[in-house]
């Protein structure tokens, strides 16, 4: 009985989180007539798959999803590969360079994307990376990196240096201590950073919009926006159907990786 308010709050939170997805599903299955009813319903009276066939018939959603997936996987793994050692160095070694680097990481978050997009575009053009997926990966990594670094640095700081010292006392070299002692404890941080980078890249629109020009390289957000018109008018049915499909890879990725997140969180090295 005592836990009832907690469960009620949890249920309310789950409903709050699930509402957009359920609404998306409901809209995707409705006819245009049903969507335009004054009193909207949750369950479609005459469910239809026409919105899905329209969405997939008009746009290369599968190809776009594959390209988004490739970009997101590359971006997230490269981000973690670069940010993990950098975060360790930032957390463990205190020097002027370090402090300046941390300051710069914070300052870099202040610039609005739109301000730097033209110079960035020029740089990519010089590197012949405009209109290519590797170009987009480079941009996504660059823009996810500061926050990923900041995030991971927090996780590294939370690992007591005494553990490394203890490992060293037990005869482990620096590399061995990092691989066998520190790395397992950083697993939740790495997973959280991977998730953050993956989702940032999967959803990213503005850079993709200006960098990718060829229809054969368009990513999913660029394809979804094609169901919208001027002044916020949209083709709600196909848009909902396509958006629903767009959420699935993120959900699968999260489902695969969330066990690691939980197990890592629970892997306490110091018992007491």
């Amino acid at each position: 009985m005592k836990r009832l308010p907690s469960y009620a709050a949890l249920l309310a939170y789950i409903v709050f989180l699930a509402f957009p997805l359920v609404w998306l599903l409901s809209t995707a299955l409705k006819t245009p007539q049903e969507m335009a009813q004054l009193d909207p319903t949750w369950i479609p009276r005459e469910p239809t798959l026409a919105n899905f066939s329209d969405a997939f018939g008009e746009q290369d959603l599968t190809g776009a999803a594959l390209r988004s997936l490739v970009v997101a996987i590359f971006s997230s793994f490269i981000t973690v590969l670069i940010s993990l050692p950098a975060a360790y160095a930032m957390a463990r070694y205190r020097s002027l360079v370090n402090r300046v680097a941390i300051g710069w990481v914070l300052v870099s978050q202040v610039f609005p994307f739109i301000l730097i997009i033209i110079p960035l575009f020029m740089v990519l053009r010089e590197l012949e990376l405009v209109n290519t997926l590797p170009g987009l990966v480079v941009v996504h990594v660059t823009f996810t990196l500061p926050f990923a670094l900041w995030m991971l640095q927090g996780y590294v700081r939370a690992v007591p240096p005494e553990l490394e010292e203890a490992a060293s006392v037990d005869g482990a070299g620096r590399l061995r201590a990092l691989v066998s002692v520190v790395a397992p404890l950083l697993a939740p941080g790495v997973v959280a950073t991977l998730l953050f980078s993956f989702i940032s890249s999967w959803n990213e629109f503005l850079f993709a919009l200006v960098i990718l020009q060829d229809p054969d390289v368009m990513t999913l957000p660029l394809t979804l926006v094609r169901f919208t018109g001027p002044e916020g008018v949209a083709r709600l049915g196909p848009l909902a159907a396509a958006s629903l499909m767009a959420t699935i890879p993120s959900l699968i990725f999260f489902a695969i990786i969330q066990r690691r997140l939980r197990s890592g969180l629970m892997a306490g090295a110091v018992k007491g």
Partner: protein
């Protein structure tokens, strides 16, 4: 083992990136090598199902008939096209043929990003489109010269979509294209239809500026005047006040307009319209498409012409096709545009987007004059379109978003008087415009 798997996955992903990678910047917008076809990129903003199909069909038809000039169809989106173009213009990688609307052309023309088509448009295309439409794409090049920076092809007029049953029950005169309602008749009809908790009309005014400014021309209201020294200022005189006052009266004096619709976007009142909550909905012609698609079975509706003041004139902007200044193949681009926007094809595009063609040949096409879905009334209303006076006002966008939108919203919500609204539009508006005229 794990390391091997990781390498395998990485290699597969690398292959996938290469497979999905496409050409890179180098193969776009370049002059054709001997023996190779000219390649053009066409950025289109078509988004409705029928319009998309019509665009793709025309591009396919062109590509089949012109093996030496091949067009790649690239679909963009209205909401972001100008962000996209600013970057691509600056980077020199803009598409060759660009679909946009005329208000956006002014800035790009002044920055030298668009090709001046003034002396390049084929005579047949030029004469098929009336001067009033060409005026919507004629802008200063930033050095004091006037140029034509796009071919106008689709326009929007304001019509009234009516619930036929409620219209018949009210026993009012049914307006025709030749004899539209005067604003007085419109107000009387709305009053007659207001009964039993139902309203005569609905004015969705979430974005009130373009609609009211375009309709203000019914009484000659232009909202901007340019002095001999070239300085533009805001003007809200008796002509400009007419339409504002009449809409306000329907809302608050006659109480014949549904107040629930006031804060809504253009398409938002449609569910209430299908339910018969109000009888008349003054909207752009394109909204007929949604009515056709969404209206419940048995719901009867008609398209009525917009009301008449001292004239039936309405302000208009155009959808346009332009050629990028940096295009390596401007002549081929113009050939494509001339094909794409000929009378027959404009009729297809207009039908797909439920808008009005600028081509006079297209306007005479039987598909544009049929009574079905109000095309006859919609197409006839195109004759009343003149260039929107705000189109060439520098700083209009800021005036619209920072001054006019909130002021008109407050006025229509009856929170300020017409005098107060007029004063704010002029005083605050002029200080905005002044910055653009230095």
């Amino acid at each position: 083992m794990r390391i091997k798997s990781a390498f395998a996955v990485t290699a597969l992903l690398a292959l996938a990136v290469t497979a999905c990678g496409g050409g890179g910047a180098g193969d776009k917008g370049e002059a054709a090598k001997p023996g190779e076809p000219v390649k053009l990129n066409f950025l289109s903003l078509a988004w409705q199902k029928e319009s998309l199909a019509a665009n793709k069909e025309l591009v396919e038809e062109w590509n089949k008939a012109n093996p030496t000039i091949q067009v790649t169809y690239v679909q963009g989106s209205w909401d972001n096209v100008n962000d996209q173009l600013v970057t691509q213009f600056a980077g020199g990688t803009a598409p060759d043929v660009i679909h946009n609307d005329s208000p956006a052309l002014s800035g790009f023309a002044a920055d030298g990003y668009l090709l001046d088509l003034k002396d390049k448009i084929p005579a047949e295309l030029k004469s098929d489109i009336p001067q009033a439409a060409w005026d919507t794409t004629t802008f200063d090049d930033g050095k004091g010269n006037q140029g034509v920076y796009g071919v106008p092809f689709l326009q929007e007029s304001q019509v009234i979509i009516a619930n036929k049953k409620l219209l018949d029950e009210a026993k009012v005169r049914i307006p025709t294209a030749d004899s539209p309602w005067t604003w007085e008749e419109f107000s009387e009809a709305a009053k007659k239809m207001t009964k039993d908790g139902h309203f005569g009309v609905a004015w969705p005014m979430k974005s009130p500026v373009n609609k009211t400014l375009n309709l203000a021309l019914n009484f000659g209201g232009k909202f901007f005047e340019t002095a001999a020294d070239g300085k533009t200022t805001v003007k809200v005189g008796p002509e400009e006040r007419e339409v504002l006052q009449r809409i306000h009266d329907q809302l608050w004096k006659d109480k014949s307009a549904d107040p629930a619709a006031l804060g809504q976007g253009t398409a938002d009142p449609l569910p209430a319209f299908y339910k018969g909550k109000f009888a008349l909905l003054p909207v752009g012609v394109y909204l007929r498409q949604q009515v056709v698609e969404q209206a419940p079975e048995g719901f009867e509706w008609v398209t009525l012409p917009g009301p008449k003041g001292t004239t039936t004139e309405q302000g208009a902007v155009s959808q346009t096709l332009s050629v990028a200044q940096d295009s390596k193949n401007p002549d081929a681009a113009l050939k494509f545009i001339s094909f794409f926007l000929n009378g027959k094809n404009q009729a297809k595009l207009a039908k797909g987007d439920w808008l009005l063609p600028t081509s006079q040949a297209a306007a005479a096409d039987p598909s544009m004059t049929t009574k079905e879905n109000g095309w006859d009334v919609a197409t006839a209303s195109g004759k009343s379109l003149v260039v929107a006076p705000f189109l060439k006002v520098k700083g209009f966008d800021e005036w619209k978003s920072k001054v006019a939108t909130p002021v008109l919203q407050q006025y229509f919500a009856n929170k300020i008087s017409l005098d107060e609204a007029a004063n704010k539009l002029v005083t605050d508006g002029n200080s905005v415009l002044e910055r653009y005229q230095k």
